[in-house]
């Protein structure tokens, strides 16, 4: 479903472009959940941003095929409309624009790109209410400006409400578990399962910790170090890392 081959990417810095991804290869099949773990600076967030098409993240080599299409040839908003969702590590605050307006515009922009009729106000609110309830988010928060005054955990839950409303085929979730307390972690984990488990869907979880994987059981766990996948295994690999740390893989 998502096939990344020999991906090389550079990030713009004050000292000029810096190579972060150095030949990353990875394939997530339909119906699968994969996790990527790795030490700080390994390139986890760079991978997420490169897949999302963030300006300043340049692909210098390699390819990414999403559902048979060349993902890298698409503009960021076209990737979203094609069913690619990026959950942000640091969701952005947008004062003056309510969650409801933002998400309705987003959902309808995606539908328009796909040649579908827009959702009416009533249809959209029904959908939003349903997904907010799934993530135990108060509907009043959806009426407030996007992420403004939200705690770290509320922002992450809001990312998942957005994912629920937009209903993507594939989600890359960049440290969605960081900043969550134990209860919120369980709610978010169950939300990911409810929204993204399906024979025609896929998830790539980027995380530092094994905890989230107790709720969202991965089919495969990859270890990213120095911009490449250095080891792949089953869920037991995450437990092993939690016990022993990254020292061994970094030495490899």
């Amino acid at each position: 479903m998502l096939k990344i081959e020999n991906l090389h990417a550079e990030v713009e810095t004050a000292d000029g472009p810096k190579a972060i991804l150095n030949g990353l290869t990875l394939e997530v099949g339909a119906g699968e959940v994969h996790a990527i773990m790795g030490p700080n600076g390994a390139g986890k967030s760079t991978l997420a941003y490169a897949l999302g098409g963030r300006p300043g993240y340049e692909i210098t080599q390699g390819s990414v095929t999403f559902d048979g299409q060349d993902l890298l040839a698409m503009e960021p908003h076209e990737r979203a409309a094609a069913g690619f969702f990026l959950g942000f590590q640091y969701p952005v605050e947008i004062p003056g624009v309510s969650n409801v307006q933002f998400l309705r515009e987003a959902a309808n922009a995606q539908r328009k790109t796909r040649g579908q009729e827009p959702l009416s106000g009533g249809e959209f609110l029904k959908l939003a209410r349903e997904k907010a309830a799934l993530l135990r988010m108060d509907m009043d928060m959806l009426k407030r400006p996007v992420n403004v005054g939200f705690s770290g955990g509320e922002k992450k839950r809001n990312e998942m409400v957005q994912m629920g409303i937009l209903d993507p085929k594939f989600a890359v979730l960049d440290e969605t578990d960081s900043g969550l307390d134990i209860d919120a972690l369980r709610i978010v984990g169950e939300g990911i399962n409810a929204i993204m488990r399906g024979a025609d869907k896929g998830v790539l979880l980027i995380t530092h910790y094994q905890r989230l994987l107790d709720y969202v059981k991965p089919d495969k766990v990859h270890i990213l170090a120095k911009g490449r996948i250095v080891k792949t295994g089953g869920p037991e690999l995450a437990l092993e890392l939690e016990r022993e740390g990254y020292a061994d893989v970094e030495a490899a």
Partner: protein
């Protein structure tokens, strides 16, 4: 040189320094002598909307006199496709409040500007001015705000805030706060910032499926909303819609 011509302002005049020289030469002297005078009786309140759009360009001048405890609010939009200037002169009585919210928006070659003079003539009066400018092409947005606090106008609380966003290189913005304070127990705050649209927020919106023109609209909406925040919701939303309508027609 005829006598009428010598009465016309030029950009050598401090209050007209950022105006459009070619447009000044076409002004008629009688227009400049005309003030819209309004008196708000003690304890009364007045709200005015002032739109300087295609149908109402040129120079407009409002003079307000507020009695003790009176309140006045002016919400203005300068969006005409020609030189446009709104001048507001307010004299505040004891405990009066003046609120000004203004947006200059537009492209082309023209200057759109607000010039306010806020005279705190008596104690305990408050004033709050919020101006936002959004320009592209070779257009200019200006805010010249003068606050005068008379010798016995103790406990004055006067604030003004100006922020500008330039959507293209070539557009510009100017601001000149001027404080003339003769009392000692007063609060006068002013702030100004000129920048571009936030790229991180722009990418966040694109990642949710919003195409560039809607991203820009939402970002500008979020930016200018502050200026109309203290208006009645109906008036604020109508002004916001008119301002965003100018952006919709823009070739960016």
């Amino acid at each position: 040189m005829s006598e009428a011509a010598t009465l016309l302002p030029t950009t050598r005049d401090e209050d007209w320094r950022y105006a459009e020289p070619a447009a000044l030469a076409t002004l008629a002297a009688p227009d400049l002598a005309a003030w819209d005078e309004m008196v708000v009786a003690p304890g009364e309140s007045l709200t005015r909307e002032c739109v300087l759009d295609a149908g109402h360009s040129g120079v407009r001048r409002l003079r307000l006199t507020l009695g003790a405890g009176a309140k006045a609010a002016i919400f203005a939009l300068a969006s005409a496709d020609s030189y446009t200037r709104l001048e507001v002169e307010v004299t505040l009585g004891d405990g009066a409040h003046f609120e000004f919210g203004g947006v200059t928006i537009g492209g082309g070659e023209h200057v759109r500007e607000f010039v306010t003079r806020c005279i705190h003539a008596a104690p305990n009066a408050t004033s709050n001015q919020v101006v936002r400018a959004v320009h592209w092409g070779r257009a200019t947005g200006n805010f010249l705000g003068r606050i005068e606090v008379a010798r016995d106008a103790q406990k004055t609380d006067a604030g003004q805030n100006f922020r500008a966003i330039l959507l293209e290189k070539g557009a510009s913005a100017n601001t000149k706060p001027e404080l003339e304070i003769f009392a000692d127990d007063v609060k006068c705050a002013h702030g100004a910032a000129i920048g571009a649209l936030d790229r991180t927020a722009g990418f966040y919106m694109a990642a949710r499926g919003l195409p560039p023109e809607i991203v820009r609209k939402l970002q500008v909406q979020a930016f200018i909303a502050d200026a109309f925040e203290n208006a009645e919701p109906e008036m604020g939303e109508a002004l916001l819609d008119r301002a965003l309508g100018v952006l919709e027609g823009a070739a960016l």
